[in-house]
Every structure is written in structure tokens, then in C-alpha cells.
Symmetry: C2
Subunit: 157 residues, 2 copies
Amino acid sequence: MADSQPLPDTADVAWLTESEQEAWRQLLRVLLRLPSAFDGLLRQADDLVLVEYNVMAFLSEAPGRSLKMTAIAAEADLSPSRLSHLIGRLEKRGWVLRHPATDDKRVIMATLTAEGYASVQRLAPRHVRDVRELVFDRLTAEQVDQLSRIAAAIAAR
Amino acid sequence: MADSQPLPDTADVAWLTESEQEAWRQLLRVLLRLPSAFDGLLRQADDLVLVEYNVMAFLSEAPGRSLKMTAIAAEADLSPSRLSHLIGRLEKRGWVLRHPATDDKRVIMATLTAEGYASVQRLAPRHVRDVRELVFDRLTAEQVDQLSRIAAAIAAR
DNA sequence: TTACAGTGTTTGAACGTTCAAAGAATTAGG
DNA sequence: CCTAATTCTTTGAACGTTCAAACACTGTAA
């Protein structure tokens, strides 16, 4: 709950400059709109959310279409719990299979089924088109590189 | 559900270039990490999520600390339903009050209470510090302007 | 060998968001 | 006017995510 703790004195605060405020406002709009835009499009296409598609895409590129849960979580930036629930959903649809690894009995491998693979293949063109439409068609080549660097800086831990 | 519709032929797809892929990967990480980072910090500070803080911030700057639901939804980029639930939560805490407008009886005004205002005041310095830490301290002044333009382009409808 | 810390994964309840539906008040057109 | 379309807001169920707790297995070190 609330902790009224060592807060900086209001006078000492380095408030945002005008251009920082503007950037922050726009960034917030992206954070709110982009994920739901993709979720909406993918849901319409195949009742999928963006992170689910991404996980399937990762799996489809992995050797044997198979990855350790931990590896997926790291690549897709998901918590173990979130991934576990997510894989559960995909499993229920028959798109992914779970089976324990042979060497380390703690680890679970997630494998894309043939149907799962077919779904990714089917969805990929549309998804790429959407990414273009919602992101890259709106940017110059220079801005794409700027975005890479900016996003990498922000996403770094 | 699934609709196997006019999908572009796989051969015709304009796949992402190498640098677009990189930008997309980094952007995805931002979309996943930044919101939960802020939610975590605000939750720890006062059991609030980012959008709730933003709504309170908007209200705190409005004349009479009061705004129509529609106006908040537009500014904060929230669906009517999402906002209604959100205001309900803030109301339950005594930070916001709901009352019907006098001229148009359909519209509801949300007003920040004294306690609500105090909370925003108390949280603002910490929040600004967090925004700096997670975003602007990581960017050059030039990148801040680039971010403004890029984010505005992506967020545009 | 046993104990203990660490790793990999799951579980279920609590929470915030979405979605479709609805109600209530206003506006526009005939 | 009267009706129909539109606007503003809420509701509740379904869904995905978070969080804390738990369990099983591995590694380590006494």
C-alpha cells in the first residue's frame, strides 16, 4: 500500500522540459494504441493476441520447432507464469505440444505442431503487412534506424 | 474465429528488411517492458497503475479539477468502458467524485477530491523521476525530438 | 549422504481490460 | 412534433496478466 516515504522535495524535482513532455505524450499514445491495434487485428484474423503470435513465430524458426520454456520466455520477454498460461492456451488449440526434456527433468520443451506451424505460415503475410501499415510505412528509412537505437536504449535494463 | 480469407500470396509479401526487423524487435521490447515497469513502480508507491495516474494528472490540471468522462477518455486514450471501470476504482478510494452535468444530462463529470489531488501532488515528483530514469536519461536531446516525431507518426490514426 | 540453495515450471486467485449489450438523454429529419 | 439515429455512459461476463505460493528437480558443499 501507500508509503509516504523519502520523496524528493517538490522544489528539487527536475520537471520535464517542453519537448520531453511532448515526446512522453506521444510515447504514451503508442504504448496504449499499438498493442491493442495488433491484438485486435490478430484476434480478428485468428483469435490470437500479439504475444501468442510472437511465441509461435519464435517456435517456427527454432530447430525442430521446439524450444525450452525458459528460452521462449527470454526471447519473447514474458514472465514464466505468463508464458505457462499462454502455452496452455496454445496447447488447448492443438498448436503446441509440451513435453519434458530428457537431460534435465525440470525443463519443459514446447513444440509447434504441424497445425500450429501451418497457422503461423498462414498468418505471417498478413501480420507483416500490418506491421508495415502501422509502423514502417509511417517512417522514413532514417527514422527506422533512429527508432532502433531509441527503443534499444529504453528497453535496456 | 479463424477466417481463411484473401491472404496475400507468400511470394508477394514485402517481408521486413534487416533493419526493420531489428527496429521491430526493439519496439516490441519497449511495448512489453515500459508499461509494466511503470505499473510496478506506481503500484509499489501507491497501488496505482499508469493509466490511473495519468487520469488523475489530467484531472489535477483541469479547471475545477473536473472533466467530462468523454474528455478524459479522449485525452488519456481510453475506451469509455475502460475509463468507467477505472473511475469506479478511484471513486471507491475517495480520490474522485462522479456527478452528472447540469446542461447535458447524459454526461458525467469526474472531479478530483482534495485527497485525490494530494495524492497526485505527492506522487508527481517520484513519477517524473521515474520517467527520466526509464526514458529520458537514456536519450540525447536530439533523440527526444526524433522520438516525438516517430511516436506521433505511429500513434496517428 | 544429507541438507540446502538455486533453477524451471505450474497453479489459482485477484486484478485490469475488452467486448457486446443496454439504458438514458440528445439531436436531426421528415 | 415524432421518430430514428446518435451520443454518453454503464454493466457484467470473459479473457489475459500478475502475483505469491508451491512443487520437482539439480547442483553444491559439508
